[in-house]
Symmetry: C2
Subunit: 406 residues, 2 copies
Amino acid sequence: MHTLWEDRFALRTDNIKSSAIRELLKITTLPDVISFAGGLPAPDVFPIEQFRRAADVVLTEMGESALQYGTTEGYQPLREMIARNASKYGLQISADNVLITTGSQQALDLLGRIFINRGDRILVESPTYLGALQAWNAYGVKYVTIPFDEDGMQTEMLESRLRTGIKFIYVLPNFQNPTGVTLSRERRKQLVEMADAYGVPIVEDDPYGQLRYEGEHLPPVVVLDDEMRAKEVPMYSGNVIYTSTFSKILAPGLRLAWVVAPSEVIKKLVQAKQGCDLNSSTLNQYIAYEVANTPLMKTHIQTIRRVYKERRDVMISALEEYMPEGVSWTKPKGGLFLWVTLPECLDTSTIFKTAVEKKVAFVPGESFHALGGGLNTMRLNFSNSKPDLIVEGIKRLAEVVKAEIK
Amino acid sequence: MHTLWEDRFALRTDNIKSSAIRELLKITTLPDVISFAGGLPAPDVFPIEQFRRAADVVLTEMGESALQYGTTEGYQPLREMIARNASKYGLQISADNVLITTGSQQALDLLGRIFINRGDRILVESPTYLGALQAWNAYGVKYVTIPFDEDGMQTEMLESRLRTGIKFIYVLPNFQNPTGVTLSRERRKQLVEMADAYGVPIVEDDPYGQLRYEGEHLPPVVVLDDEMRAKEVPMYSGNVIYTSTFSKILAPGLRLAWVVAPSEVIKKLVQAKQGCDLNSSTLNQYIAYEVANTPLMKTHIQTIRRVYKERRDVMISALEEYMPEGVSWTKPKGGLFLWVTLPECLDTSTIFKTAVEKKVAFVPGESFHALGGGLNTMRLNFSNSKPDLIVEGIKRLAEVVKAEIK
């Protein structure tokens, strides 16, 4: 008897779709394609020599423990370093508030796993990060969206949505993926207060917080939430679950990120993570600690900021020079992405095919809309390509767009 | 308003329990405790110097790509190496039949994710691997068990169970975790034929297949399944999903394992994995390839076999010397574990507490029984402790058992 696999897959797999971005990455790695599609950091700013030395130190001095299984919670010195760094932003936490995850993607998956019952409603920005939608689709979630403008989610519309019953609010306050937009200080406060009033937790996804190229640092939502509370307990016990990653400040090849949350949430995440992968790579956690826990780290982040700022500026100049009238884009103060809006009549999914023929790639904006829409939008990554390629790529893209407008 | 987290967790988290093994690992890492509890390989046989050189080569020559995101399927040369190695066992597969996962634990989780609908019935050996039960509990599975003797699952009881409707059969044919027992050749054949007759897929978990210390190699279930089929298609398209890991032959700190399956199953697993962690660590995949794809690998596995065989022999001798009458144990031909059965009246969960006071640890057997039972059994790991500690640990354990029998 021949097994008919198609009949055997679980119902939830109907909701698991291959990520548009991941599939695009395959096309866009073809030679000669200038890709603004991925969310890739620039490999030329990876601190490769520091990694090489760190790997050497770890394997020479701590090889036996670095190659062994580790605790699910993560490597203790790394958790403590993250707790110490949080205090620089005014958040008092201990290692018990920190879980190391296998990339932010795992943090999102674990949050889905511990919070989402089939049919639960999650509030997301529109547009929002595709990877989060993909992670939570597998749990049978329903999305409620909140519109977005140049200051981030429109918090004046929050209350009407929270009244409908929301499991948690998902927000990317800094240089949002996909738009590059930053949530204003005033709206951060409103978000925190409203979520607290309705007892709805916030998931704050902050991969790019340290990659600000201009303007003043804004406090993370988790810090504002903490400030609002009377301090009866020494460690953070508020309403926000915060996640960030080493992928953008060190290297994504490590697959290391972290969650900061009240310790009872961390405990539940740890139980869920045990069933998923036991622990994140011990070796990589040791190496990441060696690289990140040095004064050089500060210099390294400054280098990334300098390089990405230049690329952002080059991309914006090129858009100004080559794009026809009727096309607009965001001007992000940090991060990896900007967001382009074409005239309403155009469909970027169609344009994508022509663009790839002309050897330039992006991600069509529709993928980032939980409830559809955004047909005339696209996400451009400016971190991964060198300046001359950015100019050439935008030139090609502008030609494709011009041809469509005609 | 203070968020009451306890009220917010998803229903499925009631099924997610902290793994007994993981929690035990914490207790048993206390100084002076001789632990037979974990499933830890011996750190003294990790090929640390080869890892150090491999990390150096990878970061010197391929740093930019090794530190970047990778494809979800895994590093192509590593997948191809695994496909080549499979052909040594008579299985014709290509890289399209291989997925790299973040440890075998992720393979088990992904299989749960793509196959299990709430209430589905999975057939497992009794006892079976705790980590599999933990992974699948999160998906609301129901277990059906099949009894076990010194030749593995009693396949003559298979048909009655398959008649009741089974989503898949989970089997660890070689030096099973927790018992150390090997499924006989005859029973492997019966398993494959019966599963085929009823159209029920088999998940074959084989972490220890290469760690045989005596007796002849037996073909994996996947190979027997393949041999049974007429070869209309060049690549494997049968009824078995096979998984193995680098954790036991290289190092668990890498968190790298693999799945071999028909390509349509691999595609579905890839989609599920995208939502879980995007890809397994690129850096570790490059390093694992550098270490594993050399002639030295063969020598390294021979070293592990020699060291573990000695430890097994030392443990069995110590059991013979110190254990009182009425206590029996398996004599595994490979792997990391043996299984001890005490007189029926004893409960190893109670004995565990006394044992830890006397500075020796094991895993109570009940944890490995999907439907309960096995109160008088325990799993002992012989790979992780050096011979003199094994003798001392068994001596302590025997004293605890003797005191209980009185």
